[in-house]
C-alpha cells in the first residue's frame, strides 16, 4: 500500500531542470503514487474495501470492516433486505428463533424413571426454518429428579445441528439466558416407580387395601395391581386404578368388591402416575413451542 508520508521526494541533479525530466517526474507521481489513492482507479490501495460505483457513489467491499469486527459490512448487511427485514432466522439469536419461529419434525422428548431418578430421551429430529433445516442427533439426560417439570435445551448458536449437548433445567429463565440456546421443549419427568406389597383387602365397596409398610401413595395417584389372589386377582390384576389415600398403610379403589371371596395373601400395587403430574407421567410426550 502506498504511504504518501514515506514516499521519497523526486530528486533532481544540480543545475536547471529540463521540461521532459519534470514531466516524467510528475507522470510517475500521478500514475504510480496519487492514482493509488483514487478510488476510481480499479487497482487503488483500498479496492478490497472501497470502490467507486460509477454512479457518483461508492461500494463497500468485503474488507470494509466495522471497528472491532472480523466480518465485512457486505457480509453482515446481506442478512438484511432492502426493506430492513432479516433475510432469514439465522440473523436472529438462536434463542429467539429455535423452536419459536420454526417447527420441529416430531415431539422429540420422552421420559422414564426408576425408583430414584428420571431419564429424558431426546429423539433425533430436524427443525424447519425459512432458509432450510437443522438436523439434531438424538441424546439422553439422566440422573434427573422425578415428578419435575424440566426444560430441555442445547447450545447451538450457529444453527449447525448435529451432535449437541442436551441439558435440562427446572428454571425456564436458564434457557433464555444465553442467546445461543436452542430450546427443545419441556417435559414432566415421571413419578418414581414405587411398589407396595399388599397384605390385606376388604370384600367391600369400595375395596380397601392394606400394605405391609408405608405405601407413599397420594389420593388420585394411579396404581397398577398385580399378583392378587382369588376374585381380587381375577378382576384386578393388571388393572390401573385411581386410589384414595386413607392413611400411610391403607388406600381404597372405586371398585365394588362386596361379592369377592375373602382375601388370602399376596399382591402388589405399583404407582404409575401421580394425581398432580398432569400431562407428564411415564412416557409422557414433551411439548414444543415457546417457553411458558
Amino acid at each position: 500500500m502506498t504511504d504518501l508520508m514515506k514516499t521519497p521526494y523526486p530528486r533532481f541533479g544540480p543545475g536547471p531542470v529540463q521540461g521532459p525530466q519534470l514531466e516524467q517526474t510528475f507522470a510517475r507521481l500521478y500514475r504510480e503514487v496519487l492514482a493509488r489513492q483514487d478510488i476510481r482507479y480499479p487497482n487503488n490501495d483500498f479496492n478490497a474495501g472501497l470502490v467507486a460505483n460509477g454512479l457518483g457513489g461508492i461500494t463497500l467491499g468485503n474488507q470494509a470492516l466495522p471497528l472491532g469486527r472480523s466480518a465485512g459490512i457486505p457480509a453482515i448487511t446481506q442478512k438484511i433486505s432492502d426493506q430492513g427485514t432479516a433475510s432469514d432466522q439465522r440473523f436472529l439469536p438462536q434463542v429467539s428463533a429455535g423452536n419459536v419461529l420454526s417447527v420441529q419434525s416430531t415431539v422429540p422428548l420422552s421420559a422414564t424413571a426408576d425408583s430414584v431418578h428420571a431419564t429424558i430421551a431426546i429423539a433425533s429430529h430436524t427443525v424447519q426454518y425459512g432458509y432450510g433445516q437443522s438436523a439434531y442427533n438424538s441424546g439422553t439426560i439422566t440422573g434427573l429428579p422425578t415428578s419435575t417439570l424440566h426444560y430441555v435445551y442445547a447450545s447451538d448458536p450457529h444453527f449447525l445441528g448435529g451432535a449437541v449437548t442436551y441439558l435440562a433445567t427446572t428454571n425456564p429463565q436458564t434457557v433464555v439466558a444465553d442467546n445461543g440456546n436452542y430450546y427443545v421443549g419441556s417435559i414432566m419427568t415421571p413419578v418414581s416407580a414405587s411398589t407396595a406389597s399388599i397384605t390385606g383387602a376388604t370384600s367391600a365397596n369400595p375395596i380397601v387395601f392394606q400394605t405391609g409398610s408405608a405405601h407413599g401413595f397420594n389420593t388420585n395417584d394411579q396404581v397398577q395391581l398385580a399378583s392378587l389372589p382369588g376374585d381380587f386377582g381375577t378382576h384386578l390384576n393388571g388393572q390401573t386404578e385411581t386410589i384414595t389415600k386413607i392413611d400411610a398403610t391403607h388406600f381404597s379403589i372405586p371398585v365394588d368388591g362386596s361379592a369377592f371371596s375373602a382375601y388370602t395373601s399376596g399382591g402388589t400395587a405399583t404407582r404409575q402416575t401421580t394425581g398432580t403430574s398432569g400431562g407428564g407421567g411415564a412416557g409422557g410426550g414433551g411439548s414444543g413451542g415457546p417457553i411458558r
Binding site: H117, S124, N137, S138, T140, G143, L144, S155, A163, Y166
Partner: protein
C-alpha cells in the same frame, strides 16, 4: 468401532454439574450421540459411570446398526 470421549462445555460451572459423554460410531456420523449425566446422581452412587458408558455404547450401536441396515436396503432398491 465405537469410541467414547468426554465433552467439555467450556464452562466450569456446567462441567461441575453435568458429565457429558459422546459416543461415535466410525463412519456413521448420524449415530453420534451424547449422554448428559447429572454428576450429583453419580456422586450419590445411584448411577454408575460404567453403566452410563455401557448404555451410551448400546444406544450408539443400536442406532448405527439400524442406519446401516436402511442404507443397505436402499442399495438393493
Amino acid at each position: 468401532m465405537i469410541t467414547v470421549k468426554r465433552i467439555s462445555s467450556g464452562d466450569p460451572h456446567t462441567d461441575t454439574k453435568w458429565l457429558v459423554l459422546e459416543g461415535t460410531y466410525e463412519g456413521v456420523p448420524q449415530a453420534t450421540k451424547r449422554r448428559t449425566i447429572n454428576t450429583a446422581a453419580l456422586a450419590s452412587g445411584h448411577l454408575l459411570l460404567a453403566n452410563e458408558k455401557a448404555a451410551l455404547i448400546a444406544d450408539v450401536e443400536e442406532y448405527a446398526q439400524r442406519y446401516l441396515a436402511v442404507q443397505e436396503a436402499l442399495r438393493e432398491l
